[in-house]
Symmetry: C2
Subunit: 321 residues, 2 copies
């Protein structure tokens, strides 16, 4: 059994090679550039951990983990184009550095390369793995489209927002864990518990992200507080506030979003606090984490094998950044 840190080092040592050595370099260098921006590589490492929950890590899992990380990076390159984002991890995005057409193609070629890694599998799980991978890939696209739709739409219910978050961010974490479980030889029930562990954990992470963006310590978060509020982004907090405020507060919120005064962030946060949205968010995050842990507990393996996943989850949930 390995900790997240150990597997993370092993994965990064394998992953941090040039994946795109082909020609023309005008296509492949931008793809490699994006990978060089780094990232926590949480999804592939959790895939490896899910395999090891059941049995020794097999070679196939390293390839599937690589495919997952390439898929994730493909979505980021294309999302950055769609969002017209100038920066990713503090560095220039691909479409700004190399132009939109090349960024689009570099993303496409990265997705195809993800399937290349899946296709290296030697065990008999290829068809099942591709099936889940495709289902998840389509869901992530659906989530991104819903996210864009919601930007145009003032009225988004909590259920709709939750569904979007599930598709856009949770299902890839859930699928990474389930793929690891499949490759580790888990039975159907255990596979499903792994999936639900990841799905609930993903939602919990997003609530935490939304919370930290509003209420986190800017020194620890590493960015100005209230970035989401500034751009009128729909978040768990804003949707809860809009659902639970009175007419007077609704008028204030609507006016703040429309007029963008200098003290907008403080005043929105004040309304959030007066509605108890901060405490509600912490409690909701804990509910989803609790659900996640219940599924982890239900998995029929020796308790001691669950320790690395448990420790990782606690560490990720206690972060203040």
């Amino acid at each position: 059994m390995h900790t997240f840190e150990t597997l993370s080092k092993l994965f990064i040592a394998r992953f941090d090679t040039k994946h795109f050595t082909g020609k023309p370099v005008t296509l492949y260098e931008p793809a490699d550039y994006f990978l060089s921006l780094g990232g926590k590589r949480i999804r592939p490492v959790m895939c490896l951990m899910a395999n090891e929950l059941f049995d020794d890590i097999i070679e196939d899992t390293w390839n599937v983990a690589t495919a997952i990380e390439l898929f994730h990076n493909f979505t980021l390159i294309h999302d950055d184009i769609m969002d017209k984002a100038p920066l990713r991890r503090g560095l220039t995005t691909v479409h700004i550095k190399y132009g939109e057409p090349t960024a689009l193609l570099a993303g496409d070629v990265m997705l195809v390369t993800a399937y290349d890694y899946l296709n290296r599998m030697k065990s008999g799980h290829l068809q099942k793995v591709i099936h889940l991978f495709n289902k998840t890939a389509k869901e992530v696209c659906e989530g991104q489209q819903l996210d864009m739709d919601f930007e145009q739409n003032m009225q988004v219910s909590m259920d709709e927002y939750l569904h979007m978050i599930e598709l856009k961010t949770s299902v890839l974490l859930a699928a990474s864990l389930k793929l690891g479980a499949i490759l580790g030889g888990a039975g159907d029930g255990n596979q499903q518990h792994m999936y639900e562990f990841g799905r609930n954990l993903g939602i919990s992470f997003q609530i935490q992200d939304d919370y930290l963006d509003a209420f986190g310590d800017p020194a620890k978060v590493g960015k100005q507080a209230g970035g989401d509020i500034k751009v009128n982004k729909k978040t768990f907090l804003m949707i809860k506030a809009l659902e639970s405020c009175n007419d007077d507060q609704l008028e204030q919120l609507t006016k703040l979003m429309k007029e963008n005064p200098d003290d907008k962030v403080e005043r929105v946060l004040e309304i959030f606090r007066s509605l108890g949205v901060d405490k509600w968010a912490i409690s909701l995050k804990e509910q989803y984490m609790e659900k996640a842990f219940q599924h982890l507990e239900e998995i029929a393996v020796l308790n001691v094998r669950k320790e690395p996943l448990r420790q990782l989850t606690y560490a990720l949930m206690q972060r203040e950044y």
Copy 2:
């Protein structure tokens, strides 16, 4: 044995259903819209014909043919974004009708759906099929990137242009035929001859396209003559002209491309004719067609089985539109 026309009807009857029934409709309707614009469906039908050259068409081949057509349409949606094309087959392109972000995502989801169809395969060829599919997909992206690179670059040699055309258009036709051969149970040698038949045929088609754009009868071609010349597009004809002209003609061509006078098309065509570029193009097209046929002849099956492919090729090469 079936003719192209018969298989084409059978394929279209299967293919013309809604492939994208999921939610949100804001994502899937644009994908279905693009497929509804139609197309000749030549690649998937040639895949079916290549299967039938060797044996009865199996269910897997219908799925692979569908994957090929979806892949082709994915590339067209993304190419239209890159080229900022307002029209496709005379109708509004996806990015104009639904916006670039949605067009980008609709293309992504179409590519994933192509892999869904591949993954429905029941025979033991899945890994080999995905391998060739991925290799080809990457080459098509490489071709598109080279095409964009060449737009920025005045000096493109005939070899470079030929390589770009091979990647951008020929390899998908070649792969469609080889995939059909694999699924029809062909041996390695026959598979390779099918591939080379398609590769040479694809180049031959492109030379014909370039020729018709310049010298075709506008009434038959269905568009104004000289469209490529108007936008200074690099074509087999233009590259040959630039390679074989004298200093005076080079100066004239360069000036015409820079200044875009009203009589640009006629004057460029005059230079083409004086250099014999028209006759050269017809002869080059025939050389590639001849090479294609040689590979078809080399395939070790009863001669009568080759008749549908032979007839189709003649029909495609004799078109004046």
